[in-house]
Symmetry: D2
Subunit: 348 residues, 4 copies
């Protein structure tokens, strides 16, 4: 097979360097171009010495580079960049995978409310696919434009999918997603609040009054359940670790749901998925068990009064971002989902 010519827009953030780590050794990928407004001319390995001897690209100026030479372009950029460049790329037949939010929310009003940006290409949005392969593999395979899911939504949706798909949730009680993320989720931006001396040896909740991933999750919950009544209380927390995300889901089952052996149901649902691991009953998923890998693990705990607690872990930069993006790319080009994604977790 001929190699896939890959472009990366915005390669200086954490999702950018993570794409490079995964794509550089990918057997069917040729890294063609990587752009950075601020760092044009700088060798990539000067910024990321971990890639010395592995990636010999130099950051290109996005103003002058021609991305239509690529087969696929990843946007590891702030919200709003992908939608400004997607029309030209789509017209040229280039596939687009946006790691930001431009193509995640089909409801334009919701997007504009939460991201404070007018949406500039709603026609492309309409054909864009929400890139959660375990739920939408076929759509992903045939997509030209992917809205790569947010990190938190990936944990919530995969944690609940078997219940949603079977209509086993009592929607009169809101789903509670108590979510915890490592600091790399905040990106590689110079900000006081994520300095080592601020974030280390500390824990806080944030965006309790409203986080941008809440409407994204809610839209998918409604879609998957076919039920507009579903409700969600979503509280994210910032944990002093670099990578890793753990989401604790508290759900009330309906009468039918309460009669199921959920352990078995979950195991069967994800049996064929290469990147979802339903752990044995009683197991305690740890974020380090997936550090650096595209794997997502979960465990199911029956609780009192028909409630169930589901704990889901992933590496927020891999399955929660760049790894999932590469998984999407693999499907879009007819490759096995795990091509180039077999890197094992780093433990300890």
């Amino acid at each position: 097979m001929e190699k896939i010519k890959v472009g990366i827009v915005g390669g200086t953030g954490y999702t950018g360097v993570e794409l490079l780590r995964l794509l550089a050794p990918h057997p069917y990928v040729k890294l063609q171009v990587i752009t950075s407004r601020g760092e044009a001319g700088l060798p990539v390995s000067d910024m990321f010495p971990s890639l010395r001897g592995v990636v010999d690209l130099v950051f290109s100026d996005p103003a002058t580079v021609d991305l239509t030479q690529c087969d696929v372009v990843f946007f590891a950029t702030p919200h709003g960049v992908a939608m400004s460049q997607a029309p030209v790329l789509v017209a040229a037949g280039v596939k687009v995978i946006d790691l930001a939010a431009d193509f995640r929310l089909q409801d334009v009003a919701v997007f504009e409310k939460w991201y404070k940006l007018p949406h500039s290409c709603t026609d492309i949005l309409k054909q864009a696919v929400y890139g959660l392969p375990e739920l939408y593999a076929d759509n992903v395979a045939s997509a030209q434009v992917i809205g790569n899911p947010g990190c938190y939504p990936t944990t919530v949706l995969l944690g609940l999918a078997p219940l949603l798909e079977n209509d086993w949730i009592d929607y009169s009680v809101p789903i509670i997603a108590d979510a915890k993320s490592g600091v790399s989720g905040a990106g590689r931006k110079a900000e006081v609040s994520t300095l080592f001396s601020e974030a280390s040896d500390n824990l806080k909740a944030y965006s309790v009054a409203g986080h941008r991933h809440q409407p994204e999750i809610l839209a998918q919950l409604k879609k998957l359940s076919g039920n507009e009544a579903v409700n969600l209380i979503f509280v994210p927390h910032l944990v002093p670790m670099i990578r890793g995300m753990l989401t604790t889901l508290h759900v009330k089952l309906n009468a039918e749901g309460q009669q199921q052996s959920l352990q078995q149901v979950y195991e069967q649902r994800y049996h064929k998925e290469l990147f979802v691991d339903v752990m044995p009953a009683g197991a305690l998923p740890e974020t380090r068990s997936v550090r650096g890998s595209n794997c997502l693990r979960m465990a199911i705990y029956p609780q009192t009064e028909g409630y169930v607690t589901i704990v889901v872990v992933q590496d927020n930069l891999v399955k929660g971002a760049s790894g999932q993006a590469v998984q999407n790319m693999n499907l879009m080009f007819g490759l096995e989902a795990d091509t180039g994604l077999q890197v094992l977790p780093l433990l300890p």
Copy 2:
């Protein structure tokens, strides 16, 4: 005032050294004796160099020391030790503050089920006071034996007290306490699971199927609400920080509760409490804002459908353990609650 002669049983753990940090400079305390089975004969400051020049005690052998010379004895020991020694001390008129669980649970059957120990002095248990001064100040003041609360229960109970006392919770929906603790909560025991290389850069839930603090919290919830129907889903997590505890409470309010201005209610409830800080609406409590201090902070967030989220932070070793114990001692000896406890949080 004459100084209080203080004894500490089991001084080599984290609650022990924390008692020393708080009691050594306490203006009305004389550290009389500190025991350790394993370290008898060792100067305390050899084990804890932070106390060099401050504490010149030597660990005494518990088998030979006479604790009845003390005015009060703190037990910073494993569960079961305090109840074995309390009868002699109580008979001699010595006050007892147990930082373990021996005197926390009035229901002996519940104690024995969760701690796998027969309770050996149920008569003393009956007169023991649950040492949460913001709820039971008068009882504490007149107590001879204190069961110092668990760290998690302190956050849950102070976070919910205004709702419980006013009967504003809809008990048809379980209270969810999604709690997160720093690693010092596991104590200073040589165990693989709390090694730096296991616990650092990692996050996990633990004891999801049942944690010993669950029955303790539940007993108090029932007592404070006067309602046997109250239910609780309690999920603790282990966070890679030394000190600090953050508990996220999700509660459904009843019709009356939904009509209240909770911010105002909470501020009034805790207005006179020296160690409880209700933060302004929208604030985000961080564990580091109480690091090393006896302060507990909380914030209240109204949610959808009559739910409210309450985020509570404390230092698990201070307000969650040794600081609360000293606060109890102060009340028991007629001192201001904050005597010797005015140490400010260490931030950053």
Copy 3:
């Protein structure tokens, strides 16, 4: 005694908040004014919730505030600010303690070379005292302007003073100071290199080719030894901890020095110093043993071939900055050196 009216210029950094933590409960201090260009009008406790209920000051605009009402002004500002404001304050009889470098280096050319700033008040510089009280207590007591030492210099100079004062070093071999600092030493500035995700779980040397503290240390080494031949190789490292500094000194002793019992010499030299702890032979100083306190600890290890290794630890924000500044203030106002500085280390 009447309270000392204290002003703090630049209160939003880590040395600023640390001054507040130490000065707010100081029995002879009245916090009069604290300035911030960027945060004028903001209550201090909004920025630092750890001070809620303790500090009720609001940040003042430095352009409009009159600092001559103070008895002493601390500058917790970037290099260059103190020297621009010192003339007015000195003329008004206000004492000045600069935590930056403006008054540390008597050689103006050296200052200007390393700090890339013209020195604007060299006359005040001439009378300024290098505020290392264990070496220059008398000068400090009578000083009007203090150049508070850098964090690294404090460890090196106190670690070597007994050898320098006795002329026991073989200066034909450079002194090697292999120094390690926690990240708070880099300040509370929004920079990528000190983000949690960059600095955590990582170690690096920095400024190997030349750090600003090198000339400061060297000037003092020459002064204390009276020997121009002394030389220094200084390599600082950045360690993933918030607070703490450990400096490992490797020195060759001369013939006379090799005949000394250094353990005894050091113990005698620092016997009366409240904040210097010479640990017993063989002890291993840990940074956490001084966390949050003004104490500096050291241990002495004889090595092969007449070499000696000295390990020194301190909290870089306390003895390495704000605590030392308060110690200087105490001496300048005739107080005991440890007034308000008796806070114990936080361990664990």
Copy 4:
């Protein structure tokens, strides 16, 4: 090529799980057997969930397993185990790679002094090869028994080899190796001193009076330099990070050495080495730039008076232990050195 049948003795420590991470996906390896005295019968992936779905071995009882069926056996065990089992394996033609110290020190008296163990197979020791492939590739390729180097020695020896081989060091001044290690170097043993709450947010030197790696390094320094006069001051430090080792070397060059362009010399010396990266002049190696990879990076800084500082970083568990062991295995079986070792560093 037929797959290499691999046995691992002592698979429950960090070097054990790291061998599994590297060997499980190795294209020419068949993991045949892994033993554990304490965990016999337990599936490996129960202990290390990071290997779920990847390693399906069960820990075998070392008392009953026949290791002579293997082509090579790695010992990831305490000192003394390998030498007790090596004779049988060597007699059966099995290759042995010991990650402990049994085959590192040719001087039996030195071994017995530092490891407090009698050496039970000195004949095998004599033919054992010190497995530092960049120095002894040919010997490694033909070896039957490898003493895999200690983590610290690897950094010191590769950092100094170009100087030693060219005889450019002034041995009248001791070499100073100020070394810093992440906590995983202490192994996966339940000990108080490496608990998270002890080691986090802390820094200390340890074994200043003498560390077991000192004689190992010294023996190699003498061998490589051919000079018995070489001396070494070695001070290790414990840094709060899981993985990573940084060694700062301070060396005095002799007259000839002072005339060299060391940057160029080092680059040429290591040009062909797949796992040694000489960074450009002025670069600052960070441990995270090699996290999880077998790469070792260094930078060279000329200093005053003919001194040079060399900073070397590696992942202590990979190039400092298990990765180097696999590199040795590759050479012993005629494979390219980097076969199965091309995993990229995990940054951030």
